[in-house]
């Protein structure tokens, strides 16, 4: 069974039709990399998967449970209540382009907040797990620091650890290296690769083509709100079938 199942996802911003029916599935442990020009809808698509962006129609299933809408007795989709949506979100970790760490909390507190507050887990357990996660992303020494003391790359690794502290089944990455200085990109990609190798189910929206090819089990090329090509990295990168993808790859190589 698929860990993530997306059916006929549609989203409009006013008159703009951003997502025009997106269908795909991601198996457990699989890494899907989404590429495409800016404005293609890939970030919006990703944000719909945890309902941070509310899609208009279609279905999103996480590990067999719908996220966003639930069909009532007559098969009419009804928006889930905030509680249900929040509970589903705890299963889907997300990392943002702009880190979004909580500046008034230490690194460790950033990791511990949601497990304590949302899940009500025992403090000692959460602390131990959080420290372990920080070690894993190589930032154990910064547990007591405030985020503003950290470099962008370090902040982004904390953000990854913060999402992981909730023990999600799925991780979403929304252009997480785009705001970083070039020399800091590598450490974040390294952390993500490590996570992929550990078997996490991931969807990554990125402009890092080399990384996409290296880490992606499958690549999805989006343009103008549609999936244009979808397949194994070798197929897409070496043998693009559409003019749009070859053009995009040519431009990204520069």
């Amino acid at each position: 069974m698929s860990m993530i199942r997306v059916r006929q996802l549609e989203k409009r911003f006013g008159a703009t039709h951003v997502l025009k029916g997106i269908d795909f599935e991601v198996a457990a442990g699989e890494v899907l990399v989404v590429i495409g020009p800016s404005g293609s809808g890939k970030s919006t698509m990703l944000r719909c998967l945890n309902f941070i962006e509310e899609y208009d129609s279609g279905e999103v299933w996480i590990d067999g449970t719908p996220l966003g809408y639930r069909k009532d007795g007559n098969g009419v989709p009804k928006r889930q209540n905030e509680r249900e949506i929040a509970r589903m979100r705890t299963r889907v970790g997300m990392v943002f382009q702009s880190f979004n760490l909580f500046p008034h909390r230490t690194v460790l507190q950033n990791l511990m907040m949601a497990p304590l507050h949302v899940k009500g887990e025992p403090k000692d357990e959460v602390r131990a797990r959080s420290l372990e996660l920080l070690d894993k992303v190589g930032l154990g020494a910064f547990a007591g620091s405030y985020p503003s003391r950290l470099s962008g790359g370090q902040q982004q690794r904390v953000a990854i650890a913060r999402a992981l502290a909730m023990r999600p089944q799925v991780m979403l990455f929304d252009e997480v290296t785009s705001a970083l200085d070039p020399e800091l990109v590598g450490e974040v990609l390294g952390t993500m690769k490590q996570l992929a190798e550990a078997g996490m189910t991931m969807i990554i929206v990125t402009h890092e083509m080399a990384f996409a090819r290296e880490v992606g089990d499958r690549i999805m090329f989006m343009d103008a709100g549609r999936i244009v090509e979808h397949g194994r990295p070798e197929e897409l990168f070496d043998h693009p079938r559409t003019e749009r993808l070859s053009q995009f790859l040519l431009r990204s190589r520069r």
């Binding site: 500046p103 907040m113 985020p147």
Partner: protein
């Protein structure tokens, strides 16, 4: 040379006035800040109807000088059937007036919390109340501390307006003493000093508070 012995001779009387000013100021600061905080949270986070009501309140209160509000409170509240003494009436006015300004400070600080903060919290499964308490308010409070303290100093000084409807406090006492002694300059210099004694510690406490809440903001990104 200004003869300050007139001032010192009347100091006990003026100090009693200062005590009343301190009292009115404290009520204004605490009451106004608390009420304004609630208004500010509502003005930033509540539904459209409540937000509109808050906006109207702020617009009306800020659009009229406090002097006029003092008259309105003193003469108007009894007309509405509220039997309260002058002291209570002016304090209500001061709190209500202050609340409008605090509301705008707090509302602005809440709206200034980056959208990404809320998205991150939601992505972690947090919801309304938790996000407000753990993510938005701590940042908004920190952001609004300097203007709030500044506002508190203003309130203490604005408390002098209550004398316009005959509520006795420091500035009222000062005018009484001046009329008795005919030494306006030395008396008012002394009164300036008394106001300063009240306001300066408030301004200083701001710096302590700011330092305390500056954690994590030592350097801005």
């Amino acid at each position: 040379m200004v003869p300050f012995d007139v001032f010192f001779a009347n100091l006990p009387y003026l100090l009693r006035g200062a005590l009343v000013t301190l009292q009115i100021g404290a009520i204004g600061v605490v009451g106004g800040t608390l009420a304004g905080f609630a208004l500010g949270v509502a003005g930033a986070m509540a539904g459209r109807a409540v937000r509109a009501l808050v906006a109207v309140y702020v617009f009306i209160v800020r659009g009229v000088p406090i002097l006029v509000w003092m008259f309105m409170g003193y003469f108007g509240l009894p007309l509405l059937g509220a039997r309260l003494g002058g002291f209570l009436a002016v304090n209500i006015v001061l709190v209500a007036y202050t609340a409008a300004f605090v509301c705008e400070i707090v509302r602005g600080a809440i709206l200034a919390v980056p959208r990404g903060q809320i998205e991150a919290a939601r992505s972690l499964g947090m919801t309304g109340g938790g996000i407000l308490r753990l993510v938005i308010l701590p940042q908004a409070v920190r952001e609004s501390l300097p203007p709030l303290v500044n506002n508190s100093v203003m309130i203490v000084k604005q408390s002098a307006y209550v004398s316009i409807v005959g509520v006795w406090e420091l500035s009222y006492a000062a005018r009484e003493v001046v009329e008795r002694t005919m030494a306006p300059f030395s008396i008012f210099i002394g009164v300036m000093f008394l106001y300063f004694l009240i306001c300066y510690p408030i301004a200083m406490s701001a710096q302590c508070l700011e330092k305390r809440y500056a954690r994590g903001h030592a350097q801005k990104e």
